[in-house]
Amino acid sequence: MNPTPMQARLMAAALFLVLLGLWELLVRQWGLSALVLPAPSAVAQALWSGLASGYFWPHIWATLQALFLGLAAGSIVGLLAGMALAESELLERVLKPYVVVSQVVPKLALAPLFVLWFGFGLLPTVLITALICFFPLMENTLAGLRQADAQRLQLFRMLGATRLQTLLRLKLPMGLPAILAGLRVAVVLALVGVVVAEFMGSSQGLGAVVIAAQGMMDTTLMFAALVLIAVIGLLLYQGCLLLERRLLRAHAFPASSLSATFPPRSRGNS
């Protein structure tokens, strides 16, 4: 008995409800202090009142702003750097050791340094996030652009394509799956980066809310902020999957589905 995707999803949702119910029951049975572990109902209430009163919104906005700015900056620079390294052998040989070293340095450990250099507020948060997003994008772009095979490269030479045409119309489309996989990693890391950076250097944002809640010993509020962070993460991840599905539609045609049985859904030039 294999469950359909819908059934599997329902089962996952049911499990979630059961776990929440257990949690609620345990907290009530044992009379745990809300300081240690608040009941889900209390968290939900804190979440609701925070949203209704407008307390959370500026923080959500601040976190999203830093996240998207950092993600955009880091991804674009990472993409361009990956393209430059992939195209220039010299550049790659000179810079690769630095890239490897900077890979093994935990970027989050630089957060205090960034606060020292750039002060408190949006700027260090964005910079940390950008730095974190930079590496997966650069690495995957570099690897992705190398995926073009010798025959297709020869085809483009044979057709008199310029170097830029070869990059944009052969190497980049061929590397797109790898590049988007890098983006998916970057998005998840970016959220971690934003929250941790906000722990240290910010009075705005959900990370700052967590720290403030800790200071006020308001564990319920802390849980509510964590729920919001988790929801943002889930939405971003889903967004990435959606983007991949859209952009990779042409890549993803299964090799076995011959045209005779294939529904005419890919009309028009891509």
């Binding site: 095979d149 025959q151 297709r152 020869q154 085809l155 483009f156 030479r157 044979m158 057709l159 008199g160 394509a161 045409q165 119309r169 052969l170 489309p173 797109l176 042409a250 890549h251 045609f253 299964p254 090799a255 589905s257 011959l258 045209s259 294939f262 005419p264 890919s266 009309r267 028009g268 030039n269 891509s270």
Partner: protein, 255 residues
């Protein structure tokens, strides 16, 4: 029709030598001439240098000695005057079949409606008209090879170079594609140089066959089977006689 010994050949390969650094020459002094509209097959075992010679003729490689003259001008770089077909179809998976065929055009300029028309007509001739909006992965191997052939012909190059393009196909599909290739190239008067290791294929397709061994052309034949070729000829005595002679020469060269 044939003008052997004419003053200017269509494609003139003169004493061409090509060596990868630190190894024996892959192509070791090859002379070969082709007249316009001829179909020549370059036959040989793996590693005899036939693919390298084809890449030299395409301008993908530069010879260390000798020269290659195409229509009176020395060949400097690859370009749209030469169509090339690789061992694999090498289509771009993310483009539709039509856009794949139009790739040689769209790398030069924006395709016009006439270009589209010509591409569709080529696809139609190759029996693929209904597949124009599909993507390569939705096609069978033989269909993909046809798309690659259409792509090689879309700019109507006077010279078409093919590197064992049908080697991976089953026998029946290969025979169909051979007929398609012959018909399409005869209609356009395209000059064709076809690399293969299959004696049967070389005799069926070629007006002339050059046998390569150890980087040199060691033997050549003019095939005088009637045109157009038909599949029934494969079972005739003349065809099999050619095959036997070529086979004997190949065995002789191998020892």
């Amino acid at each position: 029709m044939r003008t052997e010994g004419a003053t200017v050949a269509f494609l003139d390969i003169e004493k061409v030598v090509f060596t990868y650094p630190g190894r024996a020459p892959v192509v070791d002094g090859v002379d070969w001439r082709m007249q316009a509209g001829e179909f020549h097959c370059l036959l040989g075992r793996s590693g005899c240098g036939k693919t390298t010679l084809l890449k030299l003729a395409a301008g993908l490689l530069r010879p260390q000695a000798g020269r290659i003259v195409l229509r009176g001008g020395e060949l400097a770089a690859p370009g749209p005057q030469v169509g090339f077909m690789f061992q694999a179809p090498t289509l771009l998976d993310w483009l539709s079949v039509l856009d794949n065929v139009l790739l040689p055009v769209s790398l030069q300029r924006r395709p016009t409606p006439q270009d589209q028309q010509r591409a569709l007509q080529l696809l139609d001739q190759l029996g693929l008209a209904s597949h124009a909006p599909h993507h390569p992965r939705q096609l069978s191997g033989g269909q993909q090879s046809r798309v690659a052939l259409a792509r090689a012909l879309v700019l109507e190059p006077p010279l078409l170079l093919l590197d064992e393009p049908f080697a991976a196909l089953d026998a029946i599909t290969r025979a169909e594609l051979q007929d398609d290739l012959l018909r399409t190239c005869r209609e356009r008067g395209t000059t064709v140089l076809f690399v293969t290791h299959d004696i049967n294929e070389a005799v069926y397709l070629g007006d002339r066959i050059a046998l390569m061994h150890g980087g040199r052309i060691v033997e050549n034949w003019t095939i005088t089977l009637p045109l157009p070729r038909t599949q029934a000829m494969r079972h005739g005595p003349a065809f099999n006689d050619y095959c036997a002679r070529v086979r004997a020469a190949m065995d002789g060269a191998g020892t």
